[in-house]
Amino acid sequence: MTSTGFDFSRQRNASADPLFRRILAVAAGAAGLLLLVLTGYLIAYSAPLWAIQSPISFLTTPQWITGIDQADGSTLEIYGAASMIFGTAVSSLIAVLIAAPIGILGAVYLVEFAPRRLAVPLAFLVELIAAIPSVIFGLWAVGDLSLRLRDSIEWWIASSIGQIVPWLSEDPASPSSSTVFRAGFLLAIMILPMIVAVSREFLRSVPISLREGYIGMGATRWEAIRDVVLPTARTGLVGAVMLALGRAIGETIAVTMVIGNAPGIPSSLFLPGQSIASKIANNIGEASGPIQLGALVSLALTLFLLSLTISLVVRLSLRKFSQITAVS
């Protein structure tokens, strides 16, 4: 087989393929590179702040004061992220506390009980919630949901437990127009589909034979879920909740619209506060000078590191999960 035509075509292929691969590799590399450049920029632009304040004092100071002239003519600049970290953490935790039980139980229903012709449309509808842009959730909360929450759940809690526990109290004469709790509740609605969808995948991955074996021994369906399905899928369910937590922490615009953007750490959940993302969104337009900008970029860096940590934890825990399924 020494036909020149054949050899020629082989040579041409051989020279074209590495080029083709290289072009594709560059595209794949661009995405990874983007992440590194992003990290580099955040670190570089946050540097001016570290000249006047240490990272630890940035993370622990609750005040955020931008260059007010003192009586003696000097300017006072204090940048503290503590109150924003508080707002982000608390609203995200409220969201997870509400959404995790409902989402996991809902996913159990979809996987274990719902007939197929009901499970398919239900799962589809839940996933559609995730498709709605967050600014629309924000608008809904501002125009409708927020008021309903104020007069229902929030009021019930404040007028019962709130009488004893100060951080659940609310002034009945003038309830706040926006509160940390409402931001958390809105986040719960927004992360619910993620919890349902991911939990559903993990519950479905529990082998049917495990359930059959237990039910065959005389267990009811609920007992099989409690003793077999949920323990087997446990790590995956925790991963689902962590993923949702990451989403809640990074959520910007909906939270900005309902949390109230008030400075300081609120003394009650039913008072306005601020989150890391809402502070950046509100202040980036009027940032003047490298230090002020540096403070906002430092906030973004904090948020980025938080979500990065959560991503890492999720990946590690889900890796463990896949080993468990491989064994069983």
Partner: protein
């Protein structure tokens, strides 16, 4: 052990277990119902508030016109998202193809990891990055807005492309290679072609995400009241920006416009997702 005890007990215990079973079923049902409730509440309420404001002038006029509308925001959103997809589409598909077809195992693992992190980057962080890099060069503009949306949509396109390319059976590739077709031709005309519906799904999801992003556009495109179609060099309006700005406006007509814009945006997002997700949900359940 539970079960063994139960079998030895008198029947009253069985009855209690059956009752618990039914009770738990009801609880699960309620949870599933609560999971879908927000969708109906939201769609119903937005539609209710938007209907009176969905007039022709809303669609065809600009904010500064006598009868104000949001035409420049609708066009601006489509333009910036369209340009973002034009950028991320080819790069993302090429990157996804590389990761699934050619990348050495370790490179693929590391890249997947980085892209997963990219997917989780909060949109405000991506926005501030675009703000730091692009606004000093291009000024607040449609270009900067498109670039910010590109950063957010790129990982979605890469990831979905990679996932669907993996599902293409090796036998199809082998058949093509056995016929003497070069690797690049096999990849483009056989593998990518087979996976094309899935690749397009990724593009549609990325479009839907891009249309709804608000925070990055606040910093980069900023929004405007002027009519500036195709003028990417100036500040550009977008639907999410209109919703955000008008939502807290005291004037009722502005709020009405916010609801009507939300309705349009919601309709587009739901439509795009209904089209692509219906198929995937079905295939995953089967």
């Amino acid at each position: 052990m539970n079960v063994r005890e139960a079998l030895l007990q008198p029947r009253s215990l069985d009855r209690r277990r059956a009752r618990t079973d039914t009770l738990m079923l009801r609880i699960f049902q309620v949870a599933a119902f609560l999971s879908v409730l927000p969708l109906f509440a939201l769609v119903f309420y937005v539609t209710l508030r938007a209907l009176p404001w969905l007039t022709p002038s809303f669609f065809f006029n600009n904010p500064l016109d006598q009868e104000k509308g949001v035409l420049n925001a609708i066009v601006g959103s489509l333009q910036m998202t369209g340009l973002a997809i034009l950028i991320t589409g080819p790069i993302g598909i090429a990157g996804g193809v590389y990761l699934s077809e050619f990348a050495p195992k370790r490179v693929a693992a590391i890249s997947e990891f980085l892209i997963d992190i990219m997917l989780g980057v909060p949109s405000i962080v991506a926005g501030i990055f675009a703000y730091l890099v692009l606004v000093p060069i291009l000024g607040p503009s449609g270009w900067a807005g498109s670039a910010a949306l590109s950063i957010l949509t790129l990982p979605i396109v890469i990831r979905t492309t990679q996932e669907v390319m993996r599902l293409v059976p090796a036998s199809i590739r082998e058949a093509s290679l056995a016929l003497g077709v070069p690797v690049w031709r096999t990849t483009l005309y056989v593998t990518v072609r087979t996976a094309l519906p899935g690749v397009l799904t990724g593009l549609v999801l990325a479009t839907s995400r891009g249309l709804g992003e608000t925070a990055p556009l606040l910093m980069t495109a900023r929004g405007t009241n002027a009519e500036n179609f195709f003028d990417f060099g100036t500040t550009m309006n977008a639907m999410p920006l209109v919703i955000y700005r008008y939502s807290s406006a005291p004037d009722e007509s502005f709020q009405g416009q916010a609801w009507a814009t939300a309705f349009v945006l919601m309709a587009i997002a739901l439509l795009l997702n209904v089209v692509v997700r219906w198929r995937t949900v079905n295939s995953r359940v089967a």
